[in-house]
C-alpha cells in the first residue's frame, strides 16, 4: 500500500490553518505577523486540541495547544473555555462591570475574544450555557474582589488555569439536571488534558504551561543560524524539580509509590493536568459521584478504578508555571506543540527547520555584495540556486505542516523520505498510536520590525 505525494499532502494539509494579522493601511503594527497551525491525528478520534484568539478588550493574542488523555472531553472543554478565563482575568474592573451590567440588563455583550478557528475546531453548543454561567460567577467574584491593582499577566494566567480546573471539578460534583450535560461534565472531569498557552502583547511574551507540551522560541543568531530557547518546563518524571515538588507535597511514607515507571502513581505521564479528578478528589468523593452518576459512568472500568497507594489527594494540579520573555528582534518565531512532536524531534532541529522554512519564504537573509568581487554570472548562479531551494519549501504553505512532514517523514539523515512518510500515514487506525502520537503544532511568527521599534 503506497500513498502518492498528492495523497500524502491531502492528509498532511487536512487540518492546516493560517492566520495573518490584518495589515492596517499596508502596515501591521502588531508584534505578531500571524501563525500557522496544524494537527495530525494518531488516536481516533484525535485527543489533541488547539486554540487561538485575539483579546478584544485588552491587547494581545492567545495561542494554546492541549493534549488530552483518557478521551478528548477535557481537552475539548479546556480549548473552549480557558481563553475566556484568561481574558476575563486580564480585564480591568470597569470592563468587568460593563459586561456584568450588560448581562444583567439583557444588552449585547462586548465581544471578549476574536477566535481564529479551523473549521474542524468545534465548540459544543449544548454546554455553552453551563460554561457561561460558571464564567459569569468567576467575573462576579473578580468584581467583588476588586483589588484596584492593574492586572499582572502572570497572575492572571495562573488564576485562570486554577479557576477553570476548579470549575470543571465543581460542575462534575454538582451535576446537571440535563442527562446529556450531566454525562458531559463527568467525562470532562474524569478525563484529563495538559495545556501550553502563550500570551503575546507587544514585546511581552508569557507562556503558561501545565503538563508536557512545550513552547520553544526560534532565535536567529547573527551569523544567520538558528537556535532554540525553551519557554516552558515539562511537567513529567524527567524534570527533577517537578519530581521534587510532588514529593514535597506528600508524606515521606509515600515517596516510593509517588513516581513509578516515570509515571505519577505509576499511572499518569504528565505531573500536572486539567481534569483527572481521579488524582484530585478524595476516594469518598469519587465513589459518591460515580454511584450517583449515570450508568455509562458506572460501567466504565477506568473511572471506577482508584489509583493504588492513594493516600493524600490531591496528587495533581492544573497550576501552570509561567515564563515571561521580552521579545528581541532576533526572536523570529514561537513553536507550541504537544509531546507528539517533541518525542520525534529535537528542539534544535525544530528551530532550524522552521527558521529555514520561514526565511525561504521571506528571504530574510539578503545577499549583499558589499566590497566583494562578484560577477554578474556568479550572482545569477547564486540567485538561481536560492530560488530552487525556496520552491522546494513552497510545497508547504504552512510552517506547522512543514514541521509535521519532517517529524513523520524524516529519515536518519534528517531529510524527508517520501516512502517513510507514506508508510507512517497509511498505518491502520489501531496501529497508528503505536508508532506515533497525536501531533499539534502552532508556529507564531513575530514581526521583527515592530519588535525592533520597541527597543
Amino acid at each position: 500500500f503506497y500513498l502518492t505525494p498528492p495523497q500524502v499532502n491531502s492528509i498532511l494539509k487536512a487540518n492546516e490553518y493560517s492566520f495573518k494579522v490584518p495589515e492596517f493601511d499596508g502596515k501591521n503594527v502588531s508584534s505578531v505577523l500571524g501563525f500557522d497551525s496544524n494537527q495530525l491525528p494518531a488516536n481516533a478520534p484525535i485527543e489533541d486540541r488547539r486554540s487561538a484568539a485575539t483579546c478584544l478588550q485588552t491587547r494581545g493574542m492567545l495561542l494554546g495547544v492541549f493534549d488530552g488523555h483518557a478521551g478528548c472531553a477535557c481537552a475539548q472543554a479546556v480549548s473552549e473555555r480557558l481563553f475566556y478565563y484568561i481574558a476575563v482575568s486580564l480585564l480591568p474592573h470597569e470592563t468587568l462591570l460593563e459586561i456584568e451590567n450588560a448581562v444583567e440588563s439583557g444588552r449585547a455583550l462586548l465581544p471578549i475574544l476574536q477566535w481564529h478557528k479551523h473549521p474542524n475546531d468545534y465548540f459544543s453548543k449544548e454546554a455553552s450555557k453551563l460554561y457561561f454561567n460558571s464564567l459569569r460567577t468567576y467575573w462576579q467574584e473578580l468584581i467583588d474582589l476588586n483589588s484596584g491593582e492593574t492586572t499582572d499577566v502572570r497572575e492572571a494566567l495562573i488564576n485562570a488555569f486554577k479557576r477553570l480546573d476548579n470549575d470543571i471539578s465543581l460542575e462534575a460534583q454538582v451535576g446537571d439536571p440535563n442527562s446529556f450535560l450531566n454525562y458531559l461534565v463527568l467525562r470532562v472531569a474524569f478525563s484529563g488534558a495538559t495545556a501550553c498557552v502563550a500570551h503575546v502583547d507587544g514585546v511581552d511574551l508569557h507562556v503558561a504551561n501545565t503538563g508536557d507540551s512545550r513552547a520553544m522560541l526560534g532565535v536567529q543568531e547573527e551569523d544567520g543560524s538558528w537556535s532554540a530557547v525553551n519557554l516552558s518546563y515539562d511537567h513529567n518524571a524527567q524534570n527533577e524539580h517537578e519530581v521534587e515538588r510532588v514529593k514535597m507535597e506528600h508524606p515521606k511514607s509515600e515517596e516510593k509509590s509517588l513516581v513509578k515507571q516515570d509515571r505519577l502513581l505509576g499511572l499518569l505521564m504528565p505531573f500536572r493536568a486539567f481534569g483527572d479528578v481521579k488524582f484530585k478528589w478524595s476516594i469518598e468523593l469519587q465513589k459518591r459521584v460515580i454511584e450517583s452518576g449515570p450508568d455509562q459512568l458506572n460501567d466504565n472500568e477506568y473511572t471506577k478504578f482508584i489509583p493504588p497507594n492513594y493516600h493524600s489527594p490531591p496528587y495533581l494540579t492544573a497550576e501552570p508555571e509561567v515564563i515571561h520573555h521580552k521579545l528581541r528582534p532576533q526572536d523570529k518565531f514561537l513553536v507550541l506543540a504537544t509531546d507528539g512532536l517533541w518525542e520525534t524531534m529535537h528542539r534544535q532541529d525544530v528551530a532550524r527547520i522552521v527558521g529555514e522554512y520561514l526565511t525561504g519564504v521571506h528571504h530574510q537573509q539578503p545577499i549583499a555584495v558589499g566590497g566583494y568581487k562578484v560577477t554578474l554570472g556568479q550572482m545569477h548562479g547564486l540567485l538561481t540556486e536560492r530560488r530552487a531551494r525556496i520552491s522546494s519549501v513552497f510545497e508547504d504553505q504552512n510552517a506547522a505542516t512543514h514541521l509535521i512532514r519532517h517529524a513523520v517523514g524524516n529519515n536518519e539523515f534528517g531529510t524527508v523520505d517520501h516512502e517513510r512518510l507514506s508508510k507512517m500515514l497509511s498505518l491502520p487506525e489501531e496501529l497508528a498510536r503505536m508508532y506515533r502520537d497525536d501531533i499539534t503544532i502552532i508556529v507564531v511568527q513575530f514581526n521583527s520590525h515592530v519588535i525592533g521599534a520597541y527597543h
Binding site: G26, P366, A368, H380, L382
Partner: protein, 882 residues
C-alpha cells in the same frame, strides 16, 4: 564631474548676484540639524513657492522665470537634486506610447541639449540613440505604432532588423528577436546635473532657492492658496507648486483642505557594474527590452541596467517612514529575474563585476500618466509629480506646460490625460493606490493592446444592477472607478481568457458585439449608463438660467422639458465639457456629462458660477441609475410600461419628462440615446433601479429585448460620426471644428464664454476639421485594427491623427474619426481647412506603418438614421442641411 556638482549642492542658498556659486556657510556645512541658523532668511512673501528641488521643481522654476515671473521661491527639504532625481537612470527617450508624453520628451531632449551651453553646467548630455527590442510580433506591432507617431512628429526613427541591432550594439544577443525600433536622437544625461543646470539658470533669472527647508503645509483660505508654512517660518504666496515627488501625496494631505494627488512609491532597482575590460563606448545606444522587462545603458565604461519586475514592492503606504527608508537596501533575490533577463540579452557580460545594486523608489500613478495641473479645490495650488519613472524624459516638457498653465491659464497643448482633475477623491485611498501601483509598475513593460483594462482597484463604484448584469454574462471595464459593461457573453459561449485575448487584430468579441448592434438597430437593447456625471443646478430666481447661458454655447432658454446638447467652452471656444442639459423647470436644470468629468466640470462650474447662495449646484451622479433603451422598439416597451403614448408626436426627440415606469414613479425619461439611434434614457432613482430594469426586461421580451454594452454603443456612435469628449473633443477643439455649429447659438441675446473666438472662426474659417474616414482596402479579418492616434495622410502628406475608431457593422467597414489640418507644404504653417480641402484629397490611415486607403466624409451617412423623430431637429443632425 558629477561628484563635484553634488558637492556644490551643499550651498544653502543661491543667489544670482554671485556670478559663481559660493559656499555661503561652509562652516556649517557638515552639520545637518535643522536648529542651525540659516544664513539667509526666507522671504516673508513671494508670488510663487515651489516645493521640491528635483528635476520637476527646478524645471518649473526655470520655465516660470523664463516666461517673466520673477518672484519665485524654490524650497527643497534636503539638497537640490538629491532625491529620486539623483538616482534617476538618466535616459531621455521619446519612444513613448502617448502623444503628449512624446511631445514632453521631445521638448526635454531639445532643452537638455542646449542647457550646458546656456548655463555652463555640464549636463553629461550624450546623444546615444535608443533601441527598443521586440521578442514577439505583437511587440513589434506596438513599436511600429510608436514609430509611425514619432515619424510624423519629425523625430527620426526606424524599425530595424535583428541584424542591424547587432551592428548598433555588438553585445546584444539577437536569437530571440523579431525586430527592433531605433530612435537615433534619444540621449543620456546626468539627471542631477540637468536639475542643477536648470536651477542655475532659474537662479540667474531671480528665483530664490533655499535648501534644507521643508514645507509642513499649505494654507488655503476661501478656496485660494494664501501661504506656505515651513520649518523656517511662513511665506505668503499666491501660487504653490507641489513638486514633492513621492511625498506629493503626503504633502497634499497635510493641509486642512486636502489636495488629493494619487501616487504611490514602489522600490525600483538598477544595477551598476565596473567597466568592461574594453570599456564600453559612451555613445553606445541605450537598449530597452520590454519583453525582458529591462533597460540597459552604458555607464562609465560599464553598464547600468534596471527594470520593471512583475512583483513590485510598494512602499511608504503609510507616508514617510524612517523604518522603511532605512531598510531600502539591495534585494538581490528580488532583482534575480531581471538579472536573468540581462544575461540572456547580453551573455557576454557574465564576467562583468558588480559595483552596486541601487534601490531608488519611484512614484507611480493609477493610470501610468503623470499628474499636473491645478487642484480642483484650492486655486493657485499646482501639482507636478507622479512621473512613473520617466521623470528625466518628461522633466523639461512637463515643467514648460505647467509654467504655461500658471502664466497663461492653460498649457499650449491639450494635457487632459495628465490633468490632476481626471482624478477625484475616489483614487486617493491608500489601499487602492498600493494595489493599483503594483499593477502599474509591471505594466510599464507589458504589452498594451487596444482596450486593455486595469485589473486592480476594481468594483469600486457600481450600478445597483451590477450583480444582475454580471450574472447574465457581462464583461466589465472601468471608467473613473465605475464598472461599465463592455458586452454580454451569451450563455454557453466561452471567450478567451484575459492573456490570450490580447490582440491588435480582430478581437474574440467581434460577433457578440455585432449581434448587440443588430439588436439595437432592429429591436431594442438596454445599456446601463449609470456612470455618467449628473449635476442638478437650480436657483430661486433666474440665476441658474443666466449663469448657464453664460457658460454654455447653446441656447438654454428653451421650454421646460426640452433637452439641449451643448458645449461648455473656454475663452478660446474649446470644449471644456460636452453635455446634455434638460430644463426640468423654469429654474432648474439637469446636466449630464461624461463619466470622467465629475471633478473637472464641478471645478469649472464652481470657478465660474457666481458665489450666490440662491444658486445651488448638486452632484447627483450617485442618486440615479441610467438605463439607455436603444432601438426602434424602445418606444413600444416604454409605452406599454407607462400607459403613456411615447410616439414622436407625444414625445419628440430631445425631450424630457418625469413619468411612471411599472410601479415606480418619478422616472426621468429623456428621448436621447447618445448614439443617434431612436430610444430613451431613463434616469431612475437608485432604489427603483432593479424594479424598473426587471419590468423593462419582462415587457421587452416580446420585442426581442437584450442587454448590450459600451462596445456596441461605441460602434453605433462612431459610424454616425458622433464625437465624444475626452476621446475626440478636448479643450483645443471648438464646435466649429467638429461640425457642431448648430449647437452654438451665437445670437442668443447674451454673451457666453468663447463667443468671440467662435465668431472669429466663423468669419475666418477653422484650422482643423473633424472628419470621418471609412477604411477602403482594410480586411477586417486579416489586417491590423485601427485604435486611435493613427496618423492620417492626405495625398501622401501628414495632416493629422485619428481620435477614435470602430468597426461599423452596418457599413461593414472600419470607421476612424480624426482631425485634418492643412500644413503649408513649404513652411509647415497651419492654414485654413475648407470643405473643399477635405473633399478633394486622397486619404490614407497609417496603422503600425501600414497605410490603408480611406474615404473622408464630413457628414454621416444619412441612410444610417432610420427613424427621423422630430422633423426639424434630429439629435446631432444639422449636417444634412448644410
Amino acid at each position: 564631474a558629477a561628484g563635484m556638482f553634488l558637492r556644490l549642492l551643499s550651498d544653502i542658498q543661491w543667489r544670482a548676484a554671485h556670478p559663481k556659486w559660493r559656499r555661503m556657510t561652509s562652516s556649517q556645512r557638515s552639520t545637518s540639524t535643522t536648529a542651525e541658523p540659516h544664513p539667509v532668511s526666507l522671504p516673508a512673501q513671494a508670488q510663487v513657492v515651489i516645493c521640491g528641488g528635483g528635476i520637476m521643481g527646478t524645471s518649473v522654476a526655470y520655465h516660470l522665470s523664463k516666461m517673466g515671473w520673477k518672484d519665485i521661491v524654490l524650497l527643497e527639504q534636503g539638497r537640490l537634486a538629491a532625491g529620486t532625481t539623483r538616482f534617476c537612470a538618466g535616459i531621455v527617450s521619446t519612444a513613448r506610447p502617448v502623444s503628449i508624453e512624446r511631445k514632453m520628451a521631445h521638448y526635454s531632449n531639445k532643452l537638455y541639449q542646449q542647457l550646458e551651453q546656456e548655463t555652463g553646467v555640464q549636463t553629461g548630455y550624450t546623444k546615444t540613440g535608443s533601441i527598443s527590442l521586440a521578442q514577439t510580433q505583437d511587440r513589434l506591432i506596438s513599436l511600429k505604432r510608436i514609430a509611425s507617431s514619432l515619424n510624423v512628429m519629425g523625430i527620426p526613427c526606424e524599425i530595424i532588423s535583428p541584424k542591424k541591432v547587432v551592428q548598433l550594439h555588438p553585445l546584444i544577443n539577437i536569437h530571440d528577436l523579431v525586430g527592433a525600433m531605433y530612435v537615433p536622437e534619444d540621449a543620456l544625461v546626468s539627471s542631477a546635473n540637468v536639475s542643477l543646470a536648470l536651477a542655475t539658470a532659474a537662479s540667474r533669472n531671480g528665483v530664490q532657492i533655499h535648501e534644507r527647508t521643508s514645507v509642513s503645509h499649505v494654507t488655503v483660505q476661501k478656496g485660494r492658496v494664501t501661504g506656505v508654512e515651513t520649518d523656517r517660518g511662513r511665506i505668503q504666496c499666491e501660487y504653490f507648486v507641489n513638486c514633492a515627488g513621492q511625498w506629493a501625496y503626503e504633502l497634499g494631505h497635510s493641509g486642512e483642505e486636502p489636495v488629493h494627488i494619487p501616487l504611490h512609491a514602489c522600490e525600483h532597482f538598477y544595477l551598476l557594474t565596473h567597466p568592461l575590460k574594453e570599456p564600453l563606448s559612451s555613445s553606445l545606444p541605450t537598449v530597452v527590452d520590454p519583453d525582458g522587462r529591462i533597460y540597459i545603458r552604458n555607464w562609465q565604461g560599464g553598464i547600468l541596467s534596471g527594470g520593471f519586475e512583475k512583483n513590485p514592492k510598494p512602499l511608504f503606504t503609510e507616508g514617510r517612514n524612517q523604518l522603511e527608508i532605512q531598510t531600502l537596501q539591495e534585494d538581490w533575490d528580488h532583482f534575480g529575474p531581471l538579472l536573468g533577463a540581462l544575461l540572456r540579452r547580453m551573455p557576454g557580460l557574465e564576467a562583468l563585476q558588480i559595483m552596486q545594486l541601487v534601490n531608488c523608489p519611484e512614484s507611480f500613478t493609477p493610470d501610468m500618466r503623470c499628474i499636473m495641473g491645478e487642484s480642483p479645490t484650492a486655486r493657485g495650488y499646482f501639482v507636478l509629480a507622479g512621473m512613473n519613472s520617466a521623470g528625466i524624459s518628461y522633466g523639461g516638457g512637463a515643467g514648460k506646460y505647467l509654467a504655461e498653465w500658471m502664466v497663461n491659464g492653460y498649457p499650449s497643448e491639450n494635457v487632459w490625460s495628465l490633468d490632476l482633475k481626471r482624478f477625484g477623491t475616489l483614487q486617493s485611498s491608500r489601499t487602492f493606490l498600493r494595489h493599483r501601483v503594483m499593477e502599474v509598475m509591471p505594466l510599464m513593460c507589458d504589452l498594451k493592446v487596444p482596450r486593455w483594462d486595469f485589473q486592480t482597484g476594481r468594483q469600486l463604484r457600481t450600478s445597483p444592477l451590477y450583480d444582475r448584469l454580471d450574472a447574465q454574462g457581462a464583461r466589465w471595464m472601468e471608467k473613473h472607478g465605475f464598472e461599465r459593461v463592455k458586452y454580454f457573453v451569451p450563455p454557453g459561449k466561452d471567450l478567451l481568457d484575459l492573456d490570450h485575448s490580447k490582440t491588435f487584430y480582430k478581437p474574440d468579441w467581434f460577433d457578440i458585439v455585432g449581434s448587440e448592434v443588430k439588436c439595437c438597430k432592429e429591436a431594442v437593447c438596454v445599456i446601463d449608463m449609470s456612470s455618467f456625471t449628473k449635476f442638478e443646478i437650480s436657483s430661486t430666481g433666474d440665476q441658474a438660467l443666466e449663469s448657464l447661458q453664460y457658460l454654455f454655447s447653446n441656447d438654454l432658454d428653451v421650454p421646460v422639458g426640452h433637452v439641449v446638447h451643448t458645449g461648455m467652452l473656454n475663452e478660446k471656444g474649446g470644449y471644456e465639457n460636452d453635455c446634455s442639459i434638460a430644463r426640468l423647470s423654469k429654474r432648474s436644470f439637469f446636466m449630464i456629462s461624461p463619466t470622467d468629468q465629475q471633478v473637472h466640470c464641478w471645478a469649472w462650474l464652481k470657478k465660474h458660477l457666481p458665489d450666490d447662495s440662491n444658486l445651488v449646484m448638486e452632484d447627483v451622479t450617485w442618486k440615479y441609475t441610467a438605463l439607455n433603451l436603444i432601438g426602434p422598439r424602445a418606444v413600444d416597451v416604454l409605452s406599454e410600461l407607462s400607459y403613456a403614448p411615447m410616439t414622436a408626436e407625444h414625445f419628440p426627440s430631445l425631450f424630457c419628462k418625469e413619468m411612471s415606469v411599472g410601479y415606480a414613479n418619478g422616472i426621468r425619461v429623456m428621448s436621447i440615446t447618445h448614439t443617434g439611434e431612436p430610444g430613451f434614457v431613463l434616469y431612475i432613482p437608485i432604489e427603483y433601479a432593479l424594479h424598473v430594469y426587471n419590468e423593462v426586461m419582462n415587457m421587452g421580451q416580446k420585442y426581442g429585448i437584450r442587454n448590450a454594452g459600451y462596445y456596441a454603443l461605441r460602434s453605433l456612435r462612431i459610424e454616425k460620426f458622433f464625437a465624444f469628449w475626452g476621446q475626440d473633443l478636448d479643450a483645443f477643439t471648438t464646435p466649429m471644428e467638429c461640425g457642431r455649429e448648430f449647437q452654438v447659438k451665437l445670437e442668443k441675446g447674451m454673451q457666453f464664454v468663447g463667443q468671440e473666438a467662435l465668431l472669429e472662426q466663423k468669419q475666418n474659417g477653422v484650422y482643423k476639421r473633424f472628419t470621418m474616414f471609412i477604411l477602403e482596402d482594410h480586411d477586417t479579418d486579416m489586417d491590423l485594427w485601427p485604435w486611435w492616434g493613427e496618423p492620417i495622410f492626405r495625398n501622401g502628406r501628414y495632416v493629422g491623427k485619428t481620435t477614435s475608431s470602430a468597426y461599423s457593422y452596418t457599413l461593414e467597414r472600419h470607421v476612424c474619426l480624426g482631425f485634418v489640418h492643412h500644413f503649408d507644404e513649404k513652411t509647415g504653417e497651419e492654414l485654413v481647412v475648407t470643405t473643399d480641402f477635405i473633399n478633394q484629397g486622397e486619404y490614407e490611415i497609417d496603422i503600425a506603418g501600414q497605410r490603408f486607403q480611406a474615404k473622408a466624409k464630413l457628414y454621416p451617412f444619412s441612410s444610417l438614421f432610420t427613424q427621423r423623430r422630430r422633423k426639424d431637429e434630429v439629435e446631432l443632425s444639422g449636417y444634412q442641411r448644410e
